[in-house]
Subunit: 487 residues, 2 copies
């Protein structure tokens, strides 16, 4: 199917945001577009927040693809209109509400969430509110992210579309919407390379569900990335050294190198480090969930030949750069539904090197990527588990300390486990690289303490390991002592 | 390719076990066949153990598909001939050696281990020792398990084959060997149903690697299953009640029901409970890693129409029953390589309901399936992570207590995490069913305590939750108190 030339076509139920908000039941489960803080609906959530401020008693459950903008994760919460939130968020207001337990949150892997919503086993979606750059009866073109939009439209009883004129209609050129079907009618995904296209620019849907089309021009409220710190740069250098070795010894990387980087400033900094990376002529391809600003540079200078994701998680500057010159990128960038971008089948098939961060690691290689002190939620696991589990090599990259050096991010035991020792191949900090493959727990501990921990904490970590090793056990631990590090 | 009619054909380097053992370097990394305690080589490992007893200084690294027989996990260890062991074991001798840290062990997911060995990123395999029911130059037919045999033969520099005349040559009829290729030359796996066949009865290999063929007739030393206890039966009944409901509400189960059960007596007992399970005409199909005795009954009485696995992990009685009457089962049973049986792509495609056990769970839904008190290894994670992560529904079934009721298996925090809160849908104990889908941590805790904990421990668990909830936090915890349960 070709991309649209007009934003609106055919007979559409055009309404204003207030009227659309009236369609949403007070206690609805609302499935929204949005991933990487972009591409979420804006006018209708804002109208719902205003209605709640004016006395409407709303208790909404909101399920998105990933993180969304301020209209959802700030305004709806400040208006006390949100009871539940899935599967990821990244704003201070939503974070506080979740930690105060005013909003119930389940932190969930991305790859198979769309399926769970379609099957009705996770939530039962009443209404889908979707941002698009174009719509006509029975199909729409998503905007700056695709996320789980196809699943959510299929699952919901009613659909509201926001057509956002601040998002260029040419975004259709980067979309590739392929649907995997539901079990037991699911076949192989016929994608053979990260840059290939197998679908359409449109998401198709049952037109009888379309209850409202709202015209908007509110821009996204995207991430702002911090400049890389000296520590980031040292981590990136260590990662590049690791890759230079791995490229020579791992046959999966002998012809092409496929990479994924986690969302955030660390991922963006690591990407930046690749601009001077010598691959011996092997093409680099990105197969991840978000395209961040660093990737635009790498596509422009020819370092990467293709980039596949489910979200253009760019900063305002990055968006401006892309929007002014989409045709420059539309051959190289592909946006897919999140159940394709994050799919185990494809990450495995392509031999992706997965690079994600964490809050803390332990000496045995378990990773906490969500909870401060085991209790306070940051953003959520997002797609890190999808990529860490299925990557041909799984790298956790993080600074060795937090709080200006007062806290070691390398601990005897993590306070919450998001990625187990079974899922992590390699740890990288600013001090070095620990390759954990084939090592026993004690060997992993020695490698992590020696190569990755901050020198100021190595003695204390070694003392823990020695003390715990006085008793028998495959994985030496004295958990009382392990958690005394919290005090 | 058709199945063989003769055990040996063509020009083969027939040697005795002692001569074959001489081929193995003293410090070799040896990749062996074997999964579910069956199908492992026997004569050559025994000969290596005898050589070590007689003074040969062996320091072997042994990588298998899964658990193996006494020749490897008892004799080689008693002879002090094994330095390292991957990825799973299940015998008292190996367990003790690992916990005494005399044998270094890395506990690893099954699905992608074969790939890691082929790529040389996990271990560098020197010799493969493979049990077969038939061999000719360039190909062999595995015996009672396939495991990672195709990958190990491809990875190793030298290959030794044991042709075991106690294993019926008709086992060729159940094998379906398909190879997925390595990245970046890996395509979709063209399997569309659990009972389908897409490969050959043979494993092909580079004939120039074949250094020895040893004739043996040592039987497997398989599992012995205990009779189901009353608690097992109540867990099975609760599981069946859950399935009766899930079948009606989950569209993925509307036409066929695909199931996997973990290895062991609990899995065997749960399978047994399905003989009276009313599916409303939907066929049942098994897509797991092992076929246990209970499955033979279910195939015989027509409850299941197909069963796919990588190992015939039967008891001695089960083996006798199968071996005397293989043609009865060879249409319905398919054995596949472990990287097909456990593959994320296929578990996801088929919509498998995954049912696995655990040592302990916590109130938030994290599962420990490997470590007693966080330190002492039992067997390993095996394939439970492959199925829990990728199943359309993931059930953890376990008794609510251990040690005759003195220990609650439901704890404030598990002492080791193998399956995170992100991977588990449902918990089943003899007291009830906790459906965790879509619930926040505090809601999950309430559900697990109320439905699954033993009544004697509910007050204490609720007290912990109340105490921890005095502080803010998405996942309330006081880790000092949580681990005081160990004292």
């Amino acid at each position: 199917m070709t991309a649209p030339s007009e934003r609106l076509a055919g007979d559409l139920p055009i309404v204003d945001a207030e009227a659309a908000a009236e369609i949403v039941p007070d206690d609805a489960t609302v499935a929204v577009s949005g991933f990487g803080s972009v591409g979420n609906p804006k006018a209708v959530p804002s109208a719902l927040a205003r209605a709640a401020e004016s006395g409407r008693d709303l208790s909404l459950s909101i399920v998105s693809g990933g993180s969304t903008g301020e209209q959802i994760d700030t305004q709806l919460i400040e208006a006390d209109a949100m009871a539940r939130r899935y599967p990821f968020q990244g704003r201070s207001t939503s974070r506080k509400a979740i930690n105060d337990r005013r909003v119930a949150f389940q932190d969930t892997h991305i790859a198979r969430l769309g399926e769970s919503v379609e099957l009705g086993t996770f939530v039962d979606a009443d209404v889908a509110i979707i941002e698009a750059v174009a719509v006509e009866p029975g199909r729409l073109v998503p905007s700056t992210s695709i996320g789980h939009t196809p699943s959510y439209i299929a699952a919901a009883d009613e659909v509201i579309v926001e057509v956002n004129e601040s998002q260029p209609i040419e975004l259709a050129e980067v979309h590739d919407v392929f649907r995997p079907g539901l079990p037991p009618h699911r076949g192989p995904i016929p994608l053979s390379a990260p840059g290939e296209r197998i679908g359409d620019p449109w998401v198709e849907f049952d037109d009888s569900k379309l209850r409202g089309v709202v015209l908007t021009d509110d821009p996204d409220t995207p991430y702002s990335f911090r400049e890389p710190t000296e520590t980031d740069q040292r981590i990136a250098d260590n990662f590049a050294s690791f890759m230079a070795q791995e490229m020579e010894r791992n046959p999966a990387l002998s012809e092409t190198i496929r990479l994924q980087f986690g969302v955030g400033s660390m991922g963006n900094a690591l990407m930046g480090a690749l601009s001077s990376f010598e691959t011996g002529g092997r093409p680099l391809e990105y197969y991840g969930e978000v395209i961040q600003d660093g990737m635009l540079d790498l596509l422009e200078d020819g370092t990467f030949r293709d980039a596949s994701a489910t979200s253009l998680a760019l900063s305002e500057d990055g968006q401006a750069r892309l929007f002014e010159n989409i045709e420059r990128y539309d051959d190289e960038i592909v946006l897919r539904p999140a159940d394709i971008s994050n799919r185990a089948e494809l990450i495995d098939r392509f031999g992706v090197v997965a690079v994600n961060s964490g809050v803390e690691i332990d000496i045995y290689g378990n990773v906490n990527s969500t909870h401060v002190n085991g209790t306070r939620m940051l953003n959520g696991i997002g797609g890190s588990g999808d990529f860490n589990r299925n990557g041909v090599v799984s790298v956790t990259a993080l600074p060795s300390t937090a709080a200006g050096g007062d806290i070691s991010r390398v601990r005897p035991a993590v306070t919450h486990v998001d990625h187990t020792e079974h899922d992590i191949s390699v740890i990288v900090t600013e001090h070095g690289v620990a390759d954990l493959r084939g090592l026993s727990p004690v060997e992993r501990a020695q490698e992590i303490i020696t190569e990755c921990a901050h020198p100021d904490y190595r003695d204390r970590l070694n003392d823990y390991l020695d003390h715990a090793s006085e008793e028998a056990g495959h994985t030496p631990h004295d958990l009382d002592v392990a958690y005394s590090w919290l005090d």
